[in-house]
Symmetry: C2
Subunit: 351 residues, 2 copies
């Protein structure tokens, strides 16, 4: 199992900061998204068989989040180089330990429920990968015409595994406009690309060798004793999707129908949290308190021994984290990036 | 000069707290309202002739706000007993030091501008008090039909002092409904009761003797050597207005037309602050920052090294102070008291 925990998102500012991106936040519950992702694997594989790839400057936070993770299972990237080097390094490392191992690659900052359904699909994909050594992705059945997700258009059926279809992949589709997303939904056969992959080290390394040979050549220098610090900066910085999966001929998709959400902004919290009795969505750390008077539909986030008091407001995002406070309507949550841009120039101490 | 600084207001929660009421906040500028009130007397009287009456538990804060105040000029009330005991104690103390002194009594938490006009009216009232030993109040010419202020209905004219009318007082009027306030404005002869008084110690002590003799009897025990701690709890707890002024026959009012505001809630900030270039009203302590994107008409208050980020909101009050954040529309600012009530029950650590 490979958990990719190197993200540096700013869409959850001010809770997410340079030093503490989304995967370390308790966005979806009481513990960090990374810890929830790890917990989601319980019973599937032991901690000894989970690798976490993260940024070197976040390594200590990963250790604190996941005290049960063996030290040698933490791969610290000297710098962010997008997901292709991350996936390749993890596959290279797993192959070094066990050349025949299968692996699942999982983002650290998604919400997936229920756990049982998730584990069932990972097991099915693994079984399929044992039978046919291809590159498997999980495609989430769309429940609405999402414009914030990439899609996978499925092709021919290759049969079923444990009751789940195994389909070919016609193509990967970038985040569509609403009209196209509606067509996808109506037409069927289009799935959200959840960024969850299952494959053998051999299969993914072979595909990388074909499509991004520089990656494999770079990683070979590790075997020759070179340090990751000198190798990594020279690896091509690309997403695994566009660098490999969109080009490979042996990609398959397993449609899954559990609840999946990449929680892309504060506005997504109502999708992954039940409303409280006042119809607000609260994410409060231990000791934090919300007092909502005549207020509803608000996303309220507070950390530490703090109180948020709302009077007569609706559908606002109100976040109190560290030295910053954010107030915006839910539908403007994506504009948090504009604040982050402003602060880069004239308030880096708040990032 | 007597500055009454014993208030315990909660209408500026979360900036105002039990331990730090409004007079200690920089509501109207860079320094506390108390310090501004003190500064407003500069050139009128030396610091040696300013008494500050405050609650014992706020005495240290007063000393920090007003380092120039002589130690013996701070009267610390063992408990709040409303304004009549406060005024009586101050008059008693001034009479003890100088039996013939005049005094002005000023609340510590009002905004008055310009200073020159204020000083001119205090001097005029003092001159009038020297000529005729009555109880003088300043009545602010209303500029709109305010329902949040008490009014003074003026009576016969007693001539002028330094170009300012000296009028008799027909009656004091409680905060009126809008319709009556409109009548007052139309009819003329009604003034806002600013709670600013000028009189000789003799005149006010005589009036108290007549209308609240228990106060004078209590204060006499101080002269017999009894401690304020044992005297004060037994003094009648009443406002000076209703206990004495509304009953006394020798009250006069000087109409004044400077800008006066008791800054009764967060909603009053736009009345005492100029808008910034984004049309927001900001009160930020040193190191605090506001980033307003596509937001206007907001009252933004922050203390310390903090940033408030607003996106796409209008006419909100957003306050970040200590361990609490408040968000409400400007027109709901008076409902802060409901939050304070809730916290008394289930969050006293936030008060």
């Amino acid at each position: 199992m490979v958990i990719m925990a190197g993200g540096s998102g700013t869409r959850f500012w001010p809770a997410s900061r340079n030093a503490r991106p989304k995967q370390f936040l308790p966005i979806s519950g009481r513990q960090s998204m990374l810890a929830e992702t790890f917990a989601r694997l319980e019973g599937l594989v032991p901690a000894e068989r989970v690798l976490v790839v993260t940024a070197a400057h976040q390594a200590q936070q990963v250790r604190e989040c996941l005290p049960q993770l063996p030290a040698e299972n933490l791969l610290a990237e000297p710098m962010a180089r997008n997901t292709a080097p991350c996936v390749a390094w993890a596959a290279h490392e797993i192959a070094r330990r066990n050349p025949d191992a299968l692996q699942a690659v999982l983002p650290a900052d998604h919400v997936i429920e229920p756990v049982e359904a998730f584990q069932r699909t990972i097991l099915a994909a693994a079984k399929a990968a044992k039978e046919v050594d291809a590159l498997y992705t999980l495609g989430v059945e769309p429940t609405f015409p999402a414009t914030g997700y990439g899609y996978i258009e499925a092709g021919d059926a290759f049969g079923q595994m444990d009751g789940i279809d195994v389909l070919g992949v016609k193509r990967f589709v970038e985040k569509p406009k609403l009209e196209r997303a509606q067509e996808f939904l109506q037409q069927g056969g289009f799935y959200w690309n959840a960024g969850i992959f299952v494959w053998s080290s051999k299969a993914i390394l072979a595909a990388i060798e074909t499509h991004v040979p520089a990656l494999i050549q770079g990683l070979a220098r590790l075997d020759a004793g070179e340090a990751i610090e000198s190798v990594y900066p020279e690896l091509p910085s690309e997403p695994i999707d566009t660098a490999v999966l969109e080009k490979a001929g042996n990609v398959r998709v397993l449609p899954v129908s559990y609840s999946w959400n990449d929680v892309g902004s504060w506005a997504a919290l109502p999708d992954v949290h039940a409303a409280d009795s006042d119809e607000n969505y609260r994410v409060l750390s231990e000791g934090a308190k919300l007092i909502a008077h005549d207020s509803k539909g608000c996303v309220a986030y507070a950390e530490g021994e703090r109180v948020l008091a709302l009077i007569g407001v609706e559908n606002l995002v109100v976040v109190q984290a560290g030295n910053a406070t954010l107030v915006c309507p839910r539908e403007r949550a994506q504009d948090v990036k504009l604040i982050v841009e402003r602060l880069k120039k004239d308030g880096p101490e708040f990032l």
